[in-house]
Amino acid sequence: MRALQAAAGVDAGDTAWMLAATALVLLMTPALGLFYAGLVREKNTLNTFMMCVAALSVATICFALVGYSLAFDGDGSLVGGLGHVFLQGVGFEPRDGTTIPHLLFFAFQTTFCIITTALVSGAVVERMRFGPFLIFAALWSILVYSVLAHWAFGGGWLQAGGTLDFAGGIPVEMGSGFSALAAALVVGARKDYGRQALLPHNAMYVLVGAGLLWFGWFGFNGGSGFGANDASVLAFVNTLLTPAAALLVWFVLDLLRGRQVTAIGAATAIIVGCVAITPAGGFISPGWALVLGGLAALPSYAVIVWRTRTRVDETLDVLAAHGIAGLTGIVFIGVVAQMSWNGVSDGLLYGNAEQLGSQLLAVLAAPAYAFGATYALLRIIGAFTALRGPDRDEAVGMDIIHHGEEAYVRGEGAILITPEGSVEDELAAVGPGSR
């Protein structure tokens, strides 16, 4: 009865927490769909959410087939091997360096690939065609996410060189943020961008989405210790502290700028805080986590304000909220990491300047790769098929054009079409006497 007991080296408590954490991270993708859908116009609600749903499908499949192997098989410098292609050798035995089944480790990592792929869609919503997006999402999850995940987590050159990234500041946050910038540049601005005010259509979705994202982030960061251990507890608690501080500072920035605290600003601040603590969660003290929240709000706020004044229609500010906040978190580790808290390394303030050097290396390399690879990938896809439709499609809205549905459909004037024909045909077939 081998299947009924855990394989040797697998810890039941660790496995239990990681099962729950994996489900928590999966929830983040529909939560992101809600967050994004609220930020776009009514006519693009479904399409925006569907891009996240698309990631749930294609990123999962691509990661299972190839991506996971490229990210986590062997410790090649730039990319992993093909030993785990089609999940070969991924079973109940513990994953090296953890006390959880390899299969569960794979599932946990897959949820990261999904949310990261979904994040990039924020740069191209309201205009990119759905078909080309599916192709992009599939290839991006393999060529960009899996490679960066290998560098940061899978034994690649950054990890081997001592760069610390607890839960994905490199592949998830900087990876999505700088890819988003490239995607926005290749796909181009929406037709009305800079000419009309393109406003969020439902601030409530944005707030609920941000709340659910924060909830899921406890699994994201709290699970990145791969067990019910000190690192996970530290990251879990820091995931509570950093967004709280980011919120407060965002309130103050809003007050200084517009004399009012905005709700969508608050939702953004929650994301910025969660992102900033993502790389640093298990490496810095709770006190520094609070400081990080306050600090991280500043550059992200500045980039959001600056970006909206440019011609770059990076529509949902993935660069500011993820790229820049992730970068802040990665650098912050190099300054305030504490051996007494993480058991791994000290930062600059605790006498280890070298750590800051390793962190800065990641800050140069990851954005450069994410931007360059995404730019090239979209250019290549764009050479085969149009990335966006005509202006008329954009005017009608992506929901009707690409999905044949509307988010807020009103039934007046709608006529049911039965497979055999229209209602009138059916009534006619019954015969005149029946009316």
């Binding site: 009309q196 005017a395 044949g404 709608a414 079409i417």
Partner: protein, 117 residues
């Protein structure tokens, strides 16, 4: 005095507003309506139920103007609302019997002339 009623595409509403402001037509009401003109019907599918959507979302402008403003208003509506494809909408001009500004009790020409002009 005339009441100018225009039914336009929702995504052209902002362009129409812009054109109206440029033509110095400043008093107007706007509402979201659904209507049916000559445009093709959309087919949508909800959980296997295929539906022909007979009505399309439109925006209706109602603008009461003095006689000399009728033509500029029509020009602005056409300029802002036109895409050249079926579904751009229509303009209806109807005679207006009386207009009263509630705040001052002004009648007719005085009431349709925006404050400050």
């Amino acid at each position: 005095m005339k009441l100018v009623i225009a039914v336009v595409r929702p995504d052209k509403a902002n362009d129409v507003l812009e054109a109206l402001y440029r033509a110095e037509v400043r008093g107007l009401s706007l509402s979201r309506v659904q209507g049916h003109g000559g445009e093709l019907e959309r087919v949508e599918t909800y959980r296997g139920a295929t539906v022909k959507m007979g009505l399309t979302d439109k925006v209706r402008f109602e603008i009461a103007v003095s006689d000399e403003f009728v033509e500029p208003t029509i020009d602005a509506l056409c300029e802002g609302g036109q895409t050249g494809e079926v579904g751009d909408g229509k303009i209806f001009v109807v005679a207006l019997e009386r207009v009263v500004r509630i705040r001052t009790g002004e009648r007719d020409h005085g009431a349709v002339t925006p404050v400050g002009s």
